[in-house]
Amino acid sequence: MMEQRPLWDLFITYVGRNYMRILNLTGEHIMISLIAVGITVMVCVPLGIYLTRNEKAAPYVIGLANVFQTIPSLALLGFLIFVFGIGNDNAVCALFLYAMLPVIQNTYTGIRSVPRSYVQAARGMGMTDFQILLKVQLPLARPVLVAGIRVAMVWTIGTATLASAIGGGGLGRLIFSGLSSIRNEIILAGAIPATLLALFADWILKRAQDYFNPSARAVRLAARHGAADDTD
């Protein structure tokens, strides 16, 4: 006969006994997510920039990214077993395909929404195309671009729990083992850190966004140079 203990009690006991394992899996989860988002940013930001210069290709590329988005995640993971076998590589690849859309789309629309007059002024003052991109277009597109990365980041951390379904690691392990053994406390031990992780990553990116905000930056510059602080 099984005695009924409240869920929170079971949860605390489980965490108390397995905190090392939870920490390890959290670390792994962070690793998988960061690698996936890192690859996404490295590939999709340049791709989005490329699309602003080759408008004709834009609908096709964005359409393709959209298709990946619509495939159910578990199905995509299963399909990728044929390509990458089982394990974290497969998971990272699937997460990358998922996170593509918001990053490409926001890079593209962010840069395109920079008013032509700024680009014209920059060119007229003698900036090269690359300088215009670096000094004018990207800084002005940054709020939109970072918003895209935030969405990708939160999705990736959430979806990374599925990695364990195809032999990968991460907090998904706890969730799946909890599901198969019908032990809610184990599910919670996986789900709660994953949620906190997603919230935390989002918060960090938001802070970064605020930090680089032009008016915050202007205030810092003024303070550093000891100027009279009268930005009314």
């Binding site: 007059s117 007229g124 003052m125 090269t128 000094k135 032009p214 205030v219 140079h225 100027a227 009279a228």
Partner: protein, 389 residues
């Protein structure tokens, strides 16, 4: 940046320049134009006349289809466009200060592209801000959003001046401003140009603005020069109906009685020097069928008085100089008098009014003819407006 070889032509020169757009229209059509060094030249015309295209060809934002353009004696089609643009100041139509950069970063765009050391940039920015009457310690780290429209465009002009270029291009820079800040900035630009002797090419569609600020005005139409000359040349000897209607529609009809009197000032038919004998001057006046003449010191340009026929006859019979026949009380001061004052004076006595500036410097005369032209233009435009409504 030693682009100007000795003996080569300064300023900006267009030779047989044509710009054809892919759809076959000629934005600029075999344009010949010489903009001398150190002048402020306005390019003006109705929309589609090619004024902005002409301007953008100078810094190669547009390249001509055929023809030759030289800047400070250098064929610009042989220059690297990026390098060329860094040597030419550029002020754009929309207030295009970069919103993510502080005021000093905006001003420093070109110097930092040119790789100036940070210290030099900082002192240059402070110097420019002070010159524009914006205390550097207060404005250095402001963002464009924290400035008024007039301040923004002032920064836009400073940005073009930052690397001390010889040539500055301005594409309707004051178009978006309210009338008061526009006038303040126009005056600032004129005095700036007098001090710094830049070659400024200024695109505008506002004839009043062109007349107020420029040494020379180039009226363009369908990519060709319709008339070129000083503000007076164009106002009082328009070459054809197009120029006449362009000036009329754009300027005279919009003038109000409170506009400055000097805006309709013209050259007198002739002047006399103070040491000339009254008899000789009298003869000249009778030849030209005139009743009065302005006496101006040819060396200092100072206005000494106005000689009237009757008094001059008396002076001539006494064998005196023209100075015996002058009359000094009737005049207007430039900067103070309005068109209304001029009109009242002319209604009182129909003799041209001399306009003098500081230190009695002679500016020109206001004739009843000029005022009548203005009145006719006002009536005509008033009636047209009446018809439309």
């Amino acid at each position: 940046m030693n682009g100007d070889l000795p003996g080569t032509q300064g300023g900006v020169v267009f030779k047989e320049v044509t710009k054809t757009y892919p759809d076959g229209t000629n934005a600029v059509d075999r344009l010949d134009l010489e903009i001398r060094s150190g002048g402020l030249v306005s390019l003006i015309g109705p929309s589609g006349c090619g004024k902005t295209t002409t301007l953008k060809m100078i810094n190669r934002l547009e390249d001509p289809t055929s023809g030759r353009i030289t800047v400070e004696g250098e064929d610009i089609l042989r220059c690297d466009p990026v390098e060329l643009r860094r040597r030419i100041g550029y002020v754009v139509q929309e207030i295009a200060l970069f919103p993510h950069m502080t005021v000093s970063e905006n001003i420093a765009v070109v110097p930092s592209l040119l790789g100036w050391p940070a210290k030099k940039i900082r002192s240059r920015v402070d110097e420019l801000l002070a010159m524009a009457g914006l205390p550097p310690e207060k404005y250095r780290f402001r963002l464009p959003d924290q400035l008024s429209g007039g301040q923004k465009q002032r920064i836009g002009v400073l940005r073009a001046l930052a690397s001390d270029p010889k040539v500055i291009l301005m594409d309707e820079p004051f178009g978006a401003l309210d009338p008061i800040s526009r006038e303040v900035l126009q005056n600032e630009l004129v005095s700036l140009q007098k001090n710094l002797k830049k070659t400024i090419v200024f695109v505008t569609h506002d004839m009043g603005e062109a007349i107020r600020i420029s040494d020379r005005i180039v009226i363009l139409r369908k990519g060709r020069v319709e008339q070129e000359g000083s503000a007076e040349d164009i106002q009082y000897s328009p070459k054809n109906d197009f120029v006449r209607s362009f000036i009329g529609e754009d300027r005279l009809s919009r003038m109000s009685p409170d506009d400055p009197a000097e805006s309709i000032v013209e050259e007198p038919w002739g002047t006399a020097a103070p040491w000339e004998g009254a008899a000789g001057v009298l003869e000249r006046m009778e030849e030209n069928d005139r009743e009065f003449i302005q006496v101006v010191d040819p060396k200092s340009g100072q206005w000494l008085g106005m000689a009237l026929l009757g008094r001059l006859r008396r002076a001539a019979s006494a064998g005196e100089t023209v100075m015996k026949g002058i009359y000094r009380e009737r005049k207007l001061y430039a900067g103070n008098a309005t068109l209304r004052d001029a009109a009242e004076m002319l209604a009182d006595r129909d003799i041209s009014i001399p306009v003098v500036g500081e230190d009695e410097r002679f500016v020109g005369v206001i004739t009843s003819g000029a005022l009548a032209r203005l009145a006719v233009e006002r009536l005509r435009s008033g009636r047209e407006e009446g018809k439309q409504s």
